[in-house]
């Protein structure tokens, strides 16, 4: 197991380097000039301002030199400075990533806690009323456009009912908790500020539930079909034949096996949420990785584009690694082979 993990981690370096090269080539192939995205309509026609801008951002160097400098800095842990925000890309991402991570964790936990049990219930009570209800709701969750769901839920739960606060990660004017992880819920707990913790949690609720709606639906359906498959297997009939209580059959024998495809999906959706949910982040004023990536792309902010690409690649590589390790844990057959 250790060797497996180590090998994967070692391979990550070249993978990320390759990612940076691809991102660099693609973003520089676009027939557009970042000058136009960052300077006003008059400044972009002013040669002195344009020259100063290019010199400041190293855009006047030949492309291979720009890439080389980028990689050398990257190896030293320096992701450069964002042309759009004027901040180091590392600090921009250091803010955006924890914001997205909070959303991703909350949404994933919610969708697993709801999706899996309901999927099991649905499979076990197949074709009963419960099953039909669960399938109807999960269909709605999967089919609702996230943009629509976000606005509607804000309208209902924030504006009409007043149960949850509005957009943003904290209340208006509320100072951030002292930074440890960048995730406001954790940091405020660590600092002991209850007020901030509650506010952060309440602000987290709506956007993560909106994101979870689709995943929940997906997980329910997947768990259900997976369970149905497993419950129809020979060894389950054997277990029942031996007179085992149904509870043990389902939870001890069937569930672990049924969960394997679920684990894959959970990993992928976690990565997805972490990497890019621009619409949800825009509606809820949540300054996460998705919005950052989007804004970097449309303004041709090369250092930020490269930084985000490398980060997202790293996220997916790690998520896939964790998923694969979970497989090994869940399925002993793979352990012998791996």
């Amino acid at each position: 197991m250790q060797g497996f993990i180590l090998r994967r981690l070692l391979f990550m370096g070249p993978q990320l380097l390759g990612m940076s090269l691809i991102a660099f080539v693609i973003s520089h192939s676009i027939p557009a000039d970042p000058v136009a995205a960052h300077l006003g309509q008059r400044s972009m026609e002013n040669p002195a301002i344009v020259a100063a801008f290019r010199a400041e951002w190293g855009l006047d160097r030949p492309l291979p030199e720009q890439y080389l400098r980028y990689v050398l800095n990257l190896l030293r842990g320096n992701l450069g400075v964002s042309i759009r925000t004027h901040q180091p890309v590392a600090s921009d991402l250091g803010r955006a990533l924890p914001a997205s991570a909070e959303l991703a964790f909350a949404a994933t936990i919610a969708s697993v806690l709801v999706g899996v049990p309901f999927g099991v219930l649905s499979a076990v009570r197949r074709n009963h009323l419960v099953d039909h209800l669960v399938r109807a709701v999960s269909l709605l969750g999967v089919s609702s456009p996230v943009f629509w769901l976000g606005l509607v839920s804000l309208y209902v739960f924030y504006f009409r009912l007043g149960w949850l606060p509005g957009p943003g990660r904290l209340d208006v004017g509320m100072p951030e908790p002292p930074r440890v992880t960048g995730m406001y819920t954790l940091d405020s707990l660590l600092a002991g500020s209850w007020g901030t913790f509650l506010a952060a949690l309440k602000h987290l609720a709506l956007p993560s539930l909106v994101l979870a709606a689709a995943t929940m639906g997906l997980l329910t359906r997947l768990t259900r079909s997976s369970m149905l498959d497993v419950l129809g297997a020979e060894y389950i009939r054997t277990a029942r034949g031996k007179g085992l209580p149904e509870r043990l059959v389902v939870f001890r024998h069937a569930l672990a096996n049924a969960l394997i495809p679920t684990v894959t999906i959970v990993g992928l959706t976690f990565g997805d949420i972490l990497a890019g949910t621009v619409l949800t982040e825009t509606i809820f004023s949540w300054p996460g990785v998705g919005r950052y990536a989007f804004q970097s792309a449309i303004t041709l902010d090369f250092p930020a584009i490269l930084g985000v690409s490398v980060l997202i690649a790293a996220i997916f590589i790690l998520v896939n690694l964790v998923t694969d390790v979970l497989y090994l844990v869940l399925d002993p057959r793979l352990r012998r082979a791996g």
């Binding site: 676009i30 027939p31 557009a32 000039d33 970042p34 136009a36 995205a37 960052h38 300077l39 006003g40 309509q41 008059r42 400044s43 972009m44 026609e45 002013n46 002195a48 301002i49 100063a52 400041e56 759009r84 925000t85 004027h86 901040q87 921009d92 803010r95 074709n127 009323l129 039909h132 209800l133 399938r135 109807a136 709701v137 606005l151 804000l154 309208y155 209902v156 924030y158 504006f159 009409r160 009912l161 007043g162 149960w163 606060p165 509005g166 957009p167 943003g168 990660r169 208006v172 004017g173 100072p175 951030e176 825009t282 509606i283 809820f284 004023s285 300054p287 919005r291 449309i298 041709l300």
Partner: protein, 535 residues
């Protein structure tokens, strides 16, 4: 199967009843913001709060609260300049020398007194850093300070619009001693030596009514009251600018009472907002002009768009009323390439109205009795001032096709299409121009050899002498009455000739809680907390 159907129906019924209940319930009691705090909802585009570097919309809004300039715009009338840190000023007859007399006893946020040395230092810093807004200081030959309260600015060329330019944040007067203490430098090599940006992003070294307390990027800017403000009492203890990029979300937070002012309001939201007694909607006329560009280079269009009769035909063929209705709001059709409201600009009743017969006749005269085909370039998935390019382009296509000009749409990603447009490669383009400063001379950009003129390949070589002479006279004319006259002649000329068809000057809306008093829409900063109050 009917069991599934039955359960889906049962679920839908329950959902319907539930939502009817929720919708029928009154909105939750609005939270009011604190009486001493003003909360402004905005779509953040801030790159830098350093006045020498930042030039974005929200940056200008924040700078209005934290910095002052020598002169500023009248809140209601953008063609009027009023005193700010300068009590009075003189312009030499040749429009090259500008003398300002400063107020005395003005304090910076640090407590340091303001003198002419600070003005000189700030201007030379802005010029040296060569940031985005530095073009407004182009052509300044020298900044002299004959005494502590007099500043004399000399320009190499006549510039009748210099006073209008100097209202912008790049002309903010900074506390030179404090900024220097934090790494600020001034002079021609400031772009390499100045290190004060980080400090200025979290602190203000100005004379304005509010002091910058904190900028949390992508989230909030918080400013607090400056008790020694030279202009008198300051109506709020704090102002918070909150980043809410989605207009629909801004509307919800305004109605819920979590913000006092929403600055991103689209025309389709207005009827609902007007129906809410807790909210007021203020209309203003913006300064953006949306227009069609018809390239004078015949090779690009095969000779169609460069033909003056075709250009006039296009101006006659457009359904201006329909375009205004499509966009909604207090939009107007500008008679020419000068926004309504500017010095010398014609009022909207002199704008073109559609005349399809005339358009077809002109096309026949031009040699196209059966019309012709042409592509229209424009930026896709891009909107400004509530105008969606994708939407209006389709209307333009429909209008022109009725006259016989068979338009195919060629939408392009903003940066890509912009690059072509700037390079003068688009035969027929749909674009916009935002006012760089609120003076008519900005619109010299549309005349031959101007920034937009060049994009239409309208040069000294192919332009006729009438328009070239008008252009050269305007550049040096100081007297406002004469300037107005000259601009009227330009508008007359452009209506009959030239590569442009002005489409639209959209309006702007701002929505506020009903208890916010004295709000006036101003396109330069949109929100000035100093003039507001909450009952």
């Amino acid at each position: 199967m009917h069991r599934t159907l039955a359960s889906i129906l049962a679920f839908l019924l329950a959902a319907l009843v539930g939502s009817a209940g929720v919708l029928a319930s009154p909105a939750a009691a609005p939270r009011a913001t604190d009486a001493n705090t003003l909360v402004v909802g905005a779509a953040f585009d801030i790159k830098s709060l350093d006045p020498a570097r930042g030039f974005e919309q929200i940056t200008s809004m924040v700078h209005k609260a934290t910095y002052d300039t020598l002169v500023t715009l009248d809140e209601k009338d953008i063609s009027k300049i009023v005193p700010d840190l300068a009590e009075s000023w003189e312009v030499s007859p040749d429009a090259k020398t500008f003398t300002f007399h400063l107020r005395q006893n003005v304090k910076f946020h640090s407590g340091n007194p303001m003198t002419s040395a600070d003005v000189k230092w700030s201007y030379e810093r802005a010029m040296g850093i060569k940031g985005n807004p530095s073009f407004l200081l182009d052509g300044i030959a020298s900044v002299d300070t004959p005494d502590d309260y007099t500043v004399v600015i000399r320009k190499t060329d006549p510039d009748p619009s210099f006073i209008a330019k100097s209202i912008f944040g790049v002309f903010a007067v900074l506390d030179s001693k404090t900024v220097m203490a934090h790494g600020g430098t001034s002079g021609p090599d400031a772009k390499d030596t100045d290190k004060a940006e980080d400090w200025l992003n979290q602190n203000s070294a100005g004379t304005g009514p509010f002091i910058l307390k904190k900028w949390t990027p992508e989230t909030e800017v918080e400013v607090e009251k400056f008790s020694d403000y030279w202009g008198g009492s300051v109506p709020f203890d704090r102002v918070i600018y909150r980043n809410i990029p989605e207009p629909a979300t801004q509307k919800l937070t305004l109605e819920a009472g979590d913000i006092d002012i929403a600055t991103e309001v689209s025309p389709d939201q207005v009827p609902a907002l007007k129906g809410n007694p807790d909210v007021q909607v203020v209309e203003g006329v913006g300064t953006d002009i949306f227009f069609l560009l018809m390239n004078e280079n015949p090779d690009l269009s095969g000779g169609t768009m460069s033909n003056p009769k075709v250009q006039l035909a296009v101006r006659y063929a457009l359904d201006y009323d329909g375009i205004r209705k499509l966009v909604g709001g207090p939009a107007v059709t500008p008679p020419s390439m000068l926004p309504v409201g500017f010095l010398g600009a014609y009022p909207p009743d002199k704008a073109f109205t559609r005349d399809l017969d005339k358009a077809k006749a002109l096309l026949a005269e031009a040699g196209y009795p059966n019309g012709f085909d042409i592509q229209l370039d424009y930026p896709t998935k891009f909107a400004r001032s509530g105008v969606s390019f994708d939407l209006v382009a389709q209307k333009i296509q429909a209008d022109l096709t009725e006259a016989g000009i068979r338009v195919t749409l060629r939408p392009g990603e903003l940066q890509t299409s912009l690059a072509e447009y700037r390079a003068g490669k688009q035969a027929f383009g749909f674009w916009l121009w935002g006012a760089d400063y609120f003076d008519s001379n900005d619109y010299l950009a549309f005349l031959p050899e101007g920034i937009v003129g060049k994009r239409a390949n309208w040069t000294n070589a192919n332009a006729d002498s009438t328009i070239k002479q008008l252009r050269d006279q305007i550049a040096v004319e100081v007297d406002n009455a004469k300037r107005a006259q000259l601009w009227q002649q330009v508008q007359d000329y452009l209506q009959q000739n030239g590569p442009y068809a002005p489409l639209l000057q959209p309006g702007a809306y701002v929505a506020l809680r009903a208890n916010v008093q004295n709000y006036v829409y101003n396109p330069a900063w949109r929100v000035n907390p100093l003039i507001l109050s909450k009952t």
